[in-house]
Amino acid sequence: MIELKNLTKKYDEFTAVDNLNLTIDTGGFFGLLGPNGAGKSTTIGMLSTLYLPTEGEILIDGERLTRQNTALKRKISVVTQEYSMRQDMTIEEIMEYQGRLYFVPKKQRRKKTRELLEFCGLTDYRRRTVRKLSGGMKRKLMVCRALLTEPEILLLDEPTAGMDALARRQMWNLLKRLNRNHMTILLTTHYMEEAEILCDRVGLMDRGRLKEADAPRVMIERLGRYAVDQAEKEEMRSLFFRTQEEAVRYIAGLKGDAALRNTTLEDVFLEKVGKYLENRR
């Protein structure tokens, strides 16, 4: 179980993460959503010990996470938002280096490397240096690298950014499979669809604060399962209804065009965070 207690990160006067309290159960799949600068990557940075919290603490299975706590760090793997790899190393060398850094026995790291590269379609490129890989291939390699160590906790910061549609689907399937095998996953993403499909709980962050955390289904229910998109002058407006009947009744009373659809997590996000951002502009 991951517990973030009163977690705060300040950079001089700027507060990137403000008193964040969050619990992620073992085997859970949690998505952290928010606009740019919401504090998602800083939270991942603190969980990976790259940033030390200004206040608060992180507990993993009841134990405090610090840079010195190597036993806890062994349980965690991170896929960072930026490509964090030596550009002059080959794919094979990157995997070997990762295995060594995590003290994975030689036989196991060779076997696992073969399996993962095969699964991600990188086997033919294993002797190619990172510099010569495409963005999508680098992203896949980072995921392969993270999985090599068979972590109990996987932190993913925008893992599918820059991937094509097919690669993204493959990634989703992989993450779902890993989660089914009880891996705890924390994911930050800009893609609401991704969070809705993958995560059993999501948290909406804005300006360093967690505004809401719940199951996507519950958040959608709370807003209203049915959405009516209504063209209003030059803008599109969405209204939400608990039942289909209510939504249909509303449309019947309209003069202009309107469309009925199911509410998505993106609607929840736009309602909770987006409207505030619009007002701020």
Partner: protein, 243 residues
């Protein structure tokens, strides 16, 4: 063991860039020997100047080899490639990472120094390089590798490391008992320069090369530098709030 992992990484780098590393280690020192030792032929302390110069060049090559192997590389890994993040995240104890860097850098320094020793062998100057020489070269390399670690950690941009080299490493290369005796430096500055690590290394390697007794104090001074710089590196890795 994390130290072995870092040494493996250094080995991969060395194997790949073998020719570049070897040539880079040779060019500048060979120029010094050709220009100052063979071009401008002089006598120093009643002996050919080359006898004075070569131990100094070996010392400064060790310094450059070690510092350059670590500082620029680690700086790029930290600020540009972000590869250093993975080390921080991993369970490899950070002290082992630093120790690996220091040992790896020292070995690169010794390698660079050995190239010079091999290249000047045909000149037949009868200079002596023994186990003590290599121990001192290793210690000197360790000091400058650690300095490389510290500089790369505290650097805020890619240009900081070359700038540090220009302001600190390059003046040391010329002034620290390498091309001329630090005795001829004006009083005040002389005392400062005398206690710099490269001055101590040059002095000790030169004494051994000329089969004269050397002062063990120099080893102590190098050890003190090593301890202080290592403490600074640890301080950064364990205490720095944002890496």
């Amino acid at each position: 063991m994390g130290i072995v992992t870092v040494l493996w990484e250094k080995w991969v780098e060395f194997r790949r860039d073998f020719y570049k590393i070897t040539l880079a280690a040779m060019i500048a020192p060979l120029m010094y020997i050709l220009v100052f030792g063979m071009g401008i032929q002089t006598i120093s302390h009643g002996q050919p100047y080359l006898n004075f110069l070569i131990p100094g060049v070996v010392a400064l090559t060790t310094m450059n080899g070690s510092f350059n192997a670590i500082a620029q590389n680690l700086n790029v890994q930290r600020l540009y490639e972000k590869a250093f993040d993975q080390v921080m995240i991993s369970p490899t104890p950070l002290w082992q990472f630093i120790a690996g860097q220091i040992i790896g850098g020292s070995l690169r320094g010794i390698y660079a120094g050995c190239i010079i020793i091999l290249l000047v062998m045909p000149i037949g100057l009868h200079l002596c390089f023994n186990g003590w020489s290599f121990l001192i070269m290793f210690l000197n390399g360790a000091v400058f590798s650690t300095l490389g670690v510290v500089v790369s950690f505290y650097a805020r941009s890619h240009t900081d490391v070359p700038r540090f080299s220009n302001y600190v490493i390059m003046p040391m290369a010329y002034l620290c008992n390498t091309f001329f005796s630090s005795d001829s430096i004006p009083h005040g500055l002389r005392e400062v320069i005398r206690y710099l690590p490269l001055s101590q290394t040059s002095s000790m390697i030169r004494s051994i090369a000329n089969e004269e007794p050397f002062s063990y104090t120099g080893i102590g001074i190098l050890a003190v530098y090593l301890a202080v710089l290592t403490a600074l590196a640890f301080c950064f890795l364990y205490k720095k709030k944002n890496l």
